[in-house]
């Protein structure tokens, strides 16, 4: 340690008024030593390229305290500015669990007494010239007891540069690392609600049931004032905290902070969970105002409308346009009726989906948008449906509605077309679900926290949005007249559409392949082959001109083929193929996302970008190829040393489902940037552009901790 410079902070009035503090290692007050600062490393020497830890230690006189990152009602957090050689990086401060202290007048502060060690990770470059490295840091603090005195010191250490090193100061580091907040356990859940008086945080974890003291220490962003959190209810392992907020901060939905628990308040053996890293994005207030509801319904409507434009509905759009062309020659009422039937199909699908979701939600399952695509059997059934439609378009067979159905329908000859339109509506909608259109996600994220009625309303709004253009076109058939007259070309177009559906089938199969691997794909294709033979039998033999006997035989063979194929290829072979992990190939600097990995990167202060994706999500693939995997964006990521994590939701990984839910998103894509340290994560829009990414990355430089 260097020479101790002296500082005398005299607080006599008014002489001390303009007195500024000296740089000091020991802060003295009326002859007594208040704070002694030094810095230590957990290694005896530096190995190039290998990160190590340094801690700034503040030893305080008895009764005095320095402050946590959120000081509470008064005080200032300790500040550390590293002066490092070029190419060296310092991570964020790892703050030990603070004490919660109360002063007269119900003033609550968070800080440290006796001794505090603020640890940071230092990453040296791979190539270092010279034989020693000197690291120094300027430390500013405010130390208070009955009175407050600011202090500052420049502390430093010089370490040799070697090729192998050994640990140092292990006991000291272990003692304070034990006091660092951890990531919440697997069974932890948290949700935020907002009402007129502020925020309500509800947490639950079986681990907490043993603790007699459970508290929430908020850590709001700078300049945000929050009231004192208080425990409102406790119900075995469920706790509700109220955090009062001023009315002008109504835009705040949640707060980062710690869940601190132990046998008593300020338990030295207590623990804490940092709930800053996994942001709990607000489940909005259940008693949401009518205005908010209307706003979200409008979102739903617009989102539904946009579903028509998404790539995965495109082949179906062509189908629909084709349908309109066909109708153009028909009477006005018939066209409108077809339109209504199509719209009814859309509505029935969405309402049906909503009912299923409501049922699942009440059963306590994790609900997410497009969750059905994470199920291989759903994808398989979809493949079969798409294939059947394609074969129909190719003319292999005609779809005939069972007689009892057409008889039951309106007696007019148009019943057939109406039912066709109805199923086309259903079909178009099924294909649309995996494309979470922009901010439809927001609306749905909102809806999933709501009651069954609101979920139903929400889905109805989406259905209305999706069907609006068709209803409009069929109600105004004049516009349809601009479409060309029917003719032979229609047959050609129909066949061409068939190929588009085959392309869609390829996409579905690629999803299956990603989920289950090549052999499963082969068995699934074998089943599809059997299905197509059944279709051919239907087209060739199950026709009105055939004898009743021939029709019965054809029907039995068809059913036997499909059932037998399903039983053997799917029930036996397909099912026995185990899941394929890591479907989305990593590479290009991407690494696999796990909650632990994220927590550890954040703790080390690294900026992290997460790509929530799935093999079956076309919007994701589109974003990846046009934005994320371009040279500029890739370069920008590596230049700023941003850790790129890929969260692959192809098989519906429940830990990823949970993350998505935390962000209030029911499905992929989702792009999140943790700027480093305690900064709140930034959520990108679902449709990325290079500019959106690059502009946001610009801000990262400023948040990397104190580079020289």
């Amino acid at each position: 340690m260097g020479a101790i410079k002296r500082l005398v902070g005299v607080i006599a009035l008014p002489a001390a008024l303009l007195c500024t503090a000296n740089v000091a290692l020991a802060q003295l007050y009326q002859g007594a030593q208040l704070v002694q600062a030094d810095t230590i490393a957990n290694v005896n020497a530096v190995v190039p390229g290998e990160p190590f830890l340094v801690g700034v230690r503040l030893k305080m006189a008895p009764g005095w305290h320095t402050y946590w990152r959120y000081p509470g009602d008064a005080g200032i957090p300790t500040e550390i500015k590293w002066q490092l050689p070029p190419g060296w990086h310092a991570g964020e401060i790892q703050w030990p669990i603070p004490l919660k202290l109360t002063e007269p007048g119900d003033i609550q502060i968070y800080g440290y007494q006796n001794e505090g060690l603020l640890i940071q990770q230092i990453t040296p470059p791979k190539n270092i010239g010279g034989s020693t490295a000197t690291l120094s840091a300027k430390v500013n603090w405010l130390v208070c007891e009955k009175i407050c005195i600011p202090g500052e010191a420049t502390v430093g250490l010089t370490l040799p540069i070697v090729s192998t090193n050994t640990a140092a100061n292990a006991d000291l580091f272990a003692r304070f690392q034990k006091r660092l907040p951890r990531s919440p356990g697997a069974n932890f859940s948290a949700s935020w609600k907002k009402d007129a008086n502020g925020l309500l945080l509800t947490i639950s974890s079986p681990e907490l049931s043993k603790s007699s003291s459970v508290e929430f220490f908020p850590s709001p962003k700078e300049s945000l004032a929050v009231g004192h959190p208080r425990l409102e209810t406790r119900n075995s392992d469920q706790f509700a905290f109220r955090v009062p907020l001023d009315a002008s901060n109504r835009s705040i939905d949640s707060l980062p902070g710690l869940i601190v628990f132990g046998n008593s308040p300020n338990d030295p053996d207590g623990s804490a969970w940092d709930i800053s890293a996994g942001p709990q994005i607000a489940a909005n207030d259940n008693h949401s105002s009518l205005r908010e509801l209307v706003r979200f319904l409008v979102f739903g409507f617009i989102g539904g409308f946009i579903l028509n434009l998404m790539p995965c509905v495109l082949p179906v759009i062509s189908l629909k346009i084709f349908g309109f062309v066909q109708q153009a020659g028909q009477s006005r009422t018939r066209i409108f009726r077809s339109g209504l039937a199509f719209v009814a199909g859309i509505f029935i699908w969405f309402i049906g989906l909503a009912l299923v979701l409501v049922a699942l939600k009440s059963a306590g399952r994790e609900i997410t948008w497009a969750f059905q695509f994470t199920n291989a059997y759903f994808v398989l059934v979809m493949s079969a449906v798409v294939l059947i439609f394609a074969l129909n378009l190719f003319g292999v067979f005609e779809i005939s509605v069972p007689q009892w159905l057409s008889r039951g329908a309106i007696a007019s000859g148009s019943a057939h077309g109406d039912i066709g339109s109805f199923f086309q509506g259903v079909f178009a909608t099924i294909l649309a679900t995996p494309c979470t259109a922009p901010f439809l996600g927001t609306a749905l994220g909102f809806a999933f926290t709501q009651s069954a009625t609101i979920i139903l309303l929400m889905f109805a709004a989406i259905a209305a949005g999706m069907s609006a253009p068709y209803l409009l076109l069929t109600a105004q058939p004049a516009w349809l007249k601009f479409l060309p007259k029917p003719g032979m070309w229609m047959e050609r177009v129909k066949q061409l559409m068939g190929f588009l559906l085959i392309a869609t089938l390829l996409f579905l199969l690629s999803v299956l392949g990603a989920q289950r691997g090549v052999s499963a794909l082969i068995w699934a294709s074998a089943f599809l082959l059997v299905v197509s033979i059944a279709c051919w039998i239907k087209g060739a033999f199950l026709v009105p001109s055939a004898t009743f006997r021939a029709r019965v035989i054809a029907f039995v063979v068809m059913v036997a083929l499909v059932l037998g194929g399903a039983a053997y290829f799917i029930g036996e072979k397909f099912q026995s193929v185990s899941m394929v992990a890591a479907a989305n190939a990593l590479g290009n600097g991407w690494e696999k996302f796990t909650p632990d990995r994220l927590a550890s990167e954040i703790q080390q202060g690294h900026p992290v970008f997460i790509d929530f994706t799935a093999e079956w999500c076309i919007t994701c693939k589109f974003n990846e190829s046009t934005v994320l995997e371009t040279d500029t964006v890739r370069g920008a990521f590596s230049e700023r040393q941003i850790v790129k994590l890929k969260a692959d939701w192809t098989n519906g990984d429940p830990t990823i489902t949970k993350m998505l839910k935390q962000f209030g998103r029911p499905g992929v894509p989702l792009y999140v940037l943790y700027p480093g340290g305690s900064a709140q994560p930034y959520v990108f829009p679902e449709l990325l552009t290079k500019n959106i990414i690059l502009e946001k990355l610009e801000t990262i430089n400023h948040t990397i901790a104190y580079q020289p």
């Binding site: 009035l13 008024l17 009602d73 007048g105 208070c144 407050c148 300049s223 004032a225 829009p685 552009t689």
Partner: protein, 202 residues
């Protein structure tokens, strides 16, 4: 590409709509108080109805208070706004025996030595006024409009440090609130986190 642009425009519109829906803080009525000043004269909020009132919590020994008085920043602000008809009340809520507690004589001396320019320095050793306002820091600032509504509560400026050199590069929230309100605009930043020493209550 076209699909993307359309979708993007929709998204931006929606985002803008979300933001626009967040309304500024609605001020509540400022509670009344009656506290004697250094000359024994009692000041109550109600007597200043119709005028802007600034409340400033004060402790002459707190480094953050010294930051703003040592640099002349606080005096300048007091002078500027009392000149515009604003009532500026400085309140010392330090309990007897605690740091910053002043007898009327000591308080008069501080005002003279520091060349302060507030309307009055109020002595609130029992902390009644301070607790009524839930004042927690020195300095902790409140701005009350002529209708008696709180229009600003929080820090004096944007840089929470005891270093006077930071004053020139920080935004003075009190000044912004007064200027905005006086020119008929809503206060853009009506609530910030106050910084400073804790008030030394009884």
């Amino acid at each position: 590409m076209k699909i993307r642009s359309i979708a993007f425009v929709f998204f931006s519109l929606a985002a803008a709509a979300l933001y626009a829906a967040e309304s500024p803080a609605v001020g509540s009525a400022a509670p009344d108080f009656s506290v004697p000043d250094v000359n024994g004269e009692t000041h109550s909020l109600s007597q200043y109805k119709g005028k802007y009132v600034v409340l400033e919590w004060f402790n002459p020994e707190c480094p953050f208070v010294k930051k703003h008085y040592g640099s002349g920043n606080m005096q300048k602000l007091q002078g500027e706004y009392t000149g515009k008809g604003v009532v500026w009340l400085t309140v010392d809520s330090s309990a007897p025996g605690a740091e910053g507690n002043l007898s009327p004589e000591q308080a008069q001396k501080v005002m003279k030595d520091w060349k302060t320019k507030q309307t009055a320095l109020l002595l609130d050793p029992d902390g009644k006024a301070g607790r009524t306002y839930n004042a927690r820091n020195t300095p902790h600032m409140f701005v009350i409009n002529p209708e008696g509504k709180v229009i600003y509560e929080g820090a004096i400026d944007s840089k929470a440090t005891p270093n006077p050199n930071d004053i020139s590069s920080s935004t003075n929230y009190v000044k912004v609130a007064l200027d905005e309100s006086m020119s008929g605009k809503p206060v853009s930043n009506a609530n910030t986190r106050p910084y400073g020493c804790s008030i030394k209550y009884k």
